[in-house]
Amino acid sequence: MTRSALREHRPRALRIAVMAAIIVALTGFGQALAQGDTIRIATSLGQNSLAPGEATGLPDATVIRTMFEGLVGFTDGALVNELASSWEANEDATAYTFELQQGVTFHDGTPFNAQAVKDYYDWVMDESSIAARARGLLAAMTSVDVVDEYTVRINLSGPNGAFIFLLATSNARIASPASVAEFGADLTRHPVGTGPFRFVSWTEGQNVIVERNPDYWGDPAEIERLEFVVVTNAATRVAMLQSGEVQYIEALPPQLVATIEAAPNLDVLAGPTNFLRILQLNTTKAPFDDVRVRQALNYAVDKQVLADVAYSGFATVMTAPIPASAFGHAEQPAYDYDPERAKALLTEAGYGDGFTFTVLTFTGDEYRMGGQVLQQMFSQVGLNMILDQQERGALVDQIFLPADENPTEAALVGASASTSDADLALTTSFARQSFPPASNNWSFFTNDRVEELLAAGRATGDPASRQDAYAEAEAIIWEQAPWVFLVSPDSIAGRAANVSGVVAAPDNTIDARRAKFD
């Protein structure tokens, strides 16, 4: 039974012609670059909270920056005054006094003054409030005093010269005390700040929309609306930039840079970050308990090649244990690429025949490529490196185990200086108090002199003394080499050519406060 039952009467040729016409018409259907009153920005992760005291993620900080301000803040990585017109620390850095901007109101009409600052920070310090993250960050704060209507003093439990940097971070930004009183635990979804934009809506997991605040005390925003869209898939994000559905995307994969650069209506933006990529060595496990071995590994790696291969050139070689943009950075003598010296050091330490070790790292292209480059370079000096890529949750579990349970020999991971200041960066990575599971000293580095110097740097507000203390601490850490000091990756973003004022901040969030169409 193979008879053709339903015979087609439409001629084939006509059908083909129709199809061709449609395709031609559609191809010409270009989409003009978006203009208008909204700039749309795509982030790779969604927001969890819009309450500055509670939010822990980078996407949260990106949105919070548009609506909230702190006494001080960071612009382009530098510490600047925001709601405080001036400030000073007392002699032993146990109290900071701030003169406040006048004529400022929160989005709900509450006036901004010393009392408002006190009310807000009192709430932050209250154990029962949802601001756990801010409370942990500002733990040194004991009380806030209203000196007069526009002067406020923050008292600390002990000397802390780095405290001003903590106040500049996203978690320290100030929300309206009236909103705190009204919403309490639901402050997460009711952001009321003093910033150039105010809240419109938040569809969780999808987008946040903010609009221009017409009563802003500073220079008014240049765009009517900002929409932050959550697009988790990198390829989708890039496609949306190309199609004009969004005007800015973060985390542009290095492999796609050429595609975006080639597009006439799109730009690629690269900038320095506060992030580092390092090979952490567990100093409690042989052979990494021997400083010569650790230094040998530093000499065995050509960091510039790593930057060029694994990051397509979008990375800078580290010159100190903290990022170059952080206060207290002191450039150290480079561990130049010297495989002969590396082999000599290994032999001296008794490992002339080399050894095998496992490097734990995250999944994904960046860490895979970086790991492979390291593998190659280590094999040139007789070392056999095994790369163990693990999913983020599993890796975090393993790396935070205490010393006696921790099986990690080495880890190719990241570190950051989120306060742009040496104190937090050095303390969380190199102080004894930061041994896992408490914090990120995954190499279990311990040095008495460094402990002294970190305390000294914290104990004064005088920048020169702090700089000296940190310079000496960094020199010791650099020489002791608990890490193989690799690179600081750049942030790479894509942006529509007719948009400006949206940039990547060094902490890998997006600063969209000055966004506008050209």
Binding site: L26, T27, N48, T56, G136, V230, A239, S243, V396, S416
Partner: protein
């Protein structure tokens, strides 16, 4: 019939409960600490512990399980770690997109798949048949991730006729629905083709021709109707698989449905939401299977249920 329904529903309860209990222990066995993931890697241990307490994860495993079952008996699914809202509320937000996408993809797959399958059977071994069979295999074996990106590149980036991101608008549903339906179309088409061909081999077809009935009547009135009954089972199963297929498609197209929510929740180790979603998926499978059995009985007079 009513008795049959009740019996089936009662039988489903242990299955669904079994799935939920299994998931409860399984997610807690996974590496990755939800509290630390929520608090951030650079957070102080005190913050992490405060978060862990809020999630109820500081309690022992048996105690967590008891609280969970008590809660479930009350009809509550708990509080999402990430969103700090009831799980039911979170899932409800993401339900409509998945239902709409699934329905459209399912209907599309059924109509196109059955049509292609019949066409292939009627023109067996012709170029048309070969073309349809090849397309079916292509549809089944092409990963939806790849197909989705390809369609995005062609239609959204290159020709700019459709948006990249999926949404509940006519243009925003086209690409996700087509991507989701692709595999189902292939399966349904192949099955429909073989079912129709098998029906043609039956005696009653020969009798119908012998009676002098025109080909059109033989096919439409006698062959197709019988051929399509087993196809119904396949269609039903495909509807069931659409929900799991949606996980990938929703991620690629940034389409905020239940599948997308599942990926986000697993990434964040949001145990209560993962458990809630697994419950929904299990219920959905049971329900669809039941529906297919009922339709089967309605379509085929030879089948009755006690």
């Amino acid at each position: 019939m009513a008795l049959f329904l009740i019996k089936r529903l009662v039988q489903a309860v242990p299955t669904v409960l079994g799935v939920v209990v299994l998931i409860f222990f399984f997610v807690r066995a996974l590496p990755g600490d939800p509290a630390r993931l929520y608090a951030g890697v650079d957070s102080d241990i005190t913050v992490v512990n405060a978060v862990r307490e809020r999630f109820g994860l500081d309690r022992s495993l048996p105690e967590q399980f008891v609280r969970f079952t008590v809660q479930l008996a009350r009809g509550e699914l708990g509080q999402s770690f990430r969103a700090n809202r009831p799980v039911g509320q979170v899932m409800l937000r993401h339900l409509q997109p998945t239902l709409v996408l699934g329905a459209i993809a399912g209907v599309l797959a059924t109509i196109v798949g059955v049509t292609l399958g019949i066409a292939a059977a009627l023109r067996r071994n012709s170029p048309v048949d070969l073309g349809i069979t090849s397309l079916s295999i292509l549809g089944i074996s092409t990963p939806s991730f790849f197909l989705g990106i390809l369609l995005i590149y062609l239609f959204a980036v290159n020709w700019r006729v459709l948006p990249v991101a999926g949404s509940l608008t006519p243009s925003g549903l086209v690409l996700p629905a087509v991507t989701l339906a692709a595999g189902a179309i292939g399966t349904i088409a192949r099955f429909a083709r073989s079912s129709v061909l098998e029906t043609f081999g039956n005696d009653y077809i020969r009798t119908a021709y012998a009676k002098g009935l025109p080909q059109r009547v033989v096919i439409n009135k006698h062959a197709l109707r019988n051929a399509l009954i087993p196809v119904l089972t396949i269609v039903g199963l495909q509807f069931g698989f659409l929900l799991s297929g949606a996980v990938i498609v929703e991620t690629v197209f940034n389409f905020p449905g239940l599948g997308w929510l599942l990926i986000q929740s697993i990434d964040a180790r949001d145990y209560p939401v993962i458990q809630g979603l697994m419950l929904v998926f299990a219920l959905q499978f049971v329900f669809i299977n039941l529906l297919v059995d009922l339709l089967y009985a309605a379509a085929d007079p030879r089948i009755t249920y006690e």
